[in-house]
């Protein structure tokens, strides 16, 4: 049992350090060129298509995928380094990140060859944006309550129903969604859902914006009305999406993006306290740094498990649970400590603006990608309790 909870102390190999330097240099250039401002996580311009293409051109998308699909056959650890450097720099990754992390691996595993040859190379070039259509108005945590129907028709399926909270649906070229192809069975209420590749911007699909309390616009309601999906867009087994969805979520739940979303406030706090902090500030910062260091070591370790071909579902859930709880608390702890920062700190205004934004962001962190309660259920199952 305890074997499942070991996080081996993976050390990043030297090629990662070289890569890290390249990524940092690239990001510094982009910042200098005004592509994005790392000190403004709350900016409006989070979708920057040219930036995606440049990242693709560097070979930093589809890094672990086979070369024949445009990938680079590099390691999960190298991908890890790119992801964390982008995240810490507040780079505009919205357009490519979901495809790179999640949708691409799903296509690799379950899509027919013609689709792989068509789409994967374009993801690697940073040209396509993906959305994930899992949640519905009455199906969030309870994924298997999804009702949006896929009805068999000539040469494909007709889709009717509504997806909700769909991040990036308004800019996405594709969505990977689960739809109901048959009712659940008595023995297995998870049965009856199928994963589909959906081409966006077609007739029969309507994307309605939903605003967020941060003032940003990121997710949507997506309404399907007799929307046609061809047969070769079925991904994997008919009625068997439940088996596929869980391993997909291991990718979604363990990455550095799951504990670094509000990290910027910590950097700004360190800047504000200066080089000679009082005891209270020093202790506060020390505790926060110890936390982020530990989270990161766990997350690197999970990247090592992925590299070793494992499916670390429980470990990923642990990283996401501790990670999002931590990144949610972080702005509040930084606020506690910021109360003692000198009025004259040069970055005081930046710190205050960032704190404002991070505190507004915080409530979503333990919800997106699966709520804390749901993750603890998965961990409990891993402990043999259910």
């Amino acid at each position: 049992m305890t074997a499942a909870l070991r996080f081996d102390p993976i050390r990043l190999p030297s090629e990662c350090e070289q890569l890290r330097k390249e990524v940092r240099a690239f990001l510094a250039e982009e910042i200098a060129a005004g592509t994005f401002d790392p000190h403004k996580p709350n900016r409006e311009d989070t979708d920057v298509p040219e930036f995606s293409r440049k990242v693709g051109a560097r070979g930093w998308l589809g890094m672990t995928w086979p070369k024949k699909y445009g990938g680079h056959e590099r390691s999960f650890l190298e991908r890890y380094v790119v992801t964390e450097e982008m995240r810490v720099a507040n780079a505009p990754t919205r357009r490519f990140f979901v495809a790179d992390r999640q949708s691409g691996p799903v296509l690799l595993k379950y899509a027919p060859e013609n689709i792989k040859m068509d789409i994967l190379p374009r993801i690697c070039r940073g040209e396509v944006c993906f959305a994930i259509g899992m949640s519905e108005p009455n199906s969030g945590s309870d994924l298997f309550a999804a009702k949006t129907r896929a009805t068999k028709t000539d040469g494909g399926y007709l889709i009717n129903g509504t997806k909700i909270w769909t991040s990036s649906a308004h800019i996405a070229d594709y969505m990977i969604a689960i739809f109901r192809t048959s009712p659940p069975t008595k023995e297995n209420r998870r049965h009856g859902l199928t994963q589909f590749l959906v081409k966006m911007k077609q007739p029969g699909i309507q994307v309605n914006p939903i605003g967020q309390i941060t003032g940003q616009y990121e997710f949507n309601e997506v309404v399907f009305t007799d929307f046609f999906v061809p047969d070769d867009h079925v991904l994997g087994e008919i009625d068997g999406a439940w088996k596929q969805a869980t391993s997909e979520l291991a990718y979604e739940r363990s990455g550095p993006e799951r504990f670094l979303e509000t990290y910027y406030v910590l950097t700004e706090l360190v800047r504000a306290v200066g080089t000679n902090p009082d005891t209270r500030s020093a202790e506060g910062i020390g505790r926060l740094v110890a936390q982020v260091h530990t989270m990161r070591r766990m997350s690197v370790s999970v990247a090592g498990m992925l590299q070793a071909g494992k499916e670390p579902v429980v470990e990923a859930s642990i990283v996401k649970d501790i990670g999002t709880v931590w990144e949610q608390q972080l702005p509040h702890r930084v606020r506690d400590l910021a109360a003692f920062v000198e009025e004259t700190a040069t970055n005081r205004e930046t710190l205050e603006k960032q704190l404002d934004f991070a505190i507004k962001t915080a409530p979503k962190l333990t919800i997106q990608g699966g709520t804390t309660e749901v993750l603890r259920g998965i961990i409990a199952r891993g402990l043999g309790l259910r």
């Binding site: 020093a282 202790e283 740094v289 260091h293 530990t294 690197v300 642990i318 961990i379 309790l385």
Partner: protein, 355 residues
Amino acid sequence: MAESENIVAETAEKIFADLADAQTINRDNKGAWKAPLWQALTEAGLPLSWVPEDCGGSGASLAEGFSVLSAAGRFALAVPLAETMLAGWLLAQARITSPDGEMTVVPASPKDRITVNADGSLSGKARSVPFAKAAKHFAILASDAKGSLSIALVDAARCRIETGLGLGGDNSDTVTLDKVQPLTTKPAPKGFDQTRLMLMGGVARSLQIAGALESMLEISVRYSNERVAFEKKISKFQAVQHNLARLAGESAAALAAATSAADAIANATSFNDEVFLEAVAAKIRCAEAAEKGGGIAHQVHGAIGFTIEHILHRYSLRALAWRDDFGSESYWAVELGKLVARRGADELWPLVASR
């Protein structure tokens, strides 16, 4: 993990399983379990794991020794194995041969100082020294008036020891040296300092805390699957499951932090800021996990875990007690915060992402 690392740890684990069973120890209030356990550990060469063979030890690697400490934590071991290992390691830094028997290191807190007098004798006071009362010898780090550091082997009988008890019921004593002549003194190697000793002790304690949390998780899960209330096993209640999931998270975080720090120290070529971060972060994170995780383990066990008959306290109280040795998490957090501030905001991420 290397093959040989497993063999040393497996040997330790087997001895603990045979002779340090928590239930047996808990019932034996006369302490009859101690002598056979220590004898078996000694025969296996474990107390002097970190002492090279030409200094009288068994010459295990740092990594091997660290895995012994994890196992010791899983058994909430209440004999001075970690302390003797640390003392042997300290003496070996100055190539002083380790004697037989129990030892401990002095000082055990970053704030205490022992001084070398002009005549070579030692003076000073060290508080909360683990197992001082049980030790036959002390490995002491001391500094002279010019600040040069020495490592000394001292006969415990020449020192004044005021008995103290730590939270876990193990000795945590005050040691006073009043012009005590050491058995041997040698200069500490270049670059060695008290911080290094404290962090080595801190990582040892981190591994022990993480090990104790692993056991607390295991016995809590087991108990929740046995105890029936409201006509169900309590493990079937979602609130209980979530508590155990949180305990699993704390246990995993502690183990991850502690093993990462041990790996960093075992493979360090120099004692730089990155190694400092690893060691200090482990002590801070493990101490926090001891508080949160131990609390949950008791919650799951209900009143039964609060009784002296039950073994839970052997793990929970020791994990809490170990927080204080070799610098508490508050102390190290201040030191880490100062280091981060000194390096500046833009150097924080490069430090965190250094491994």
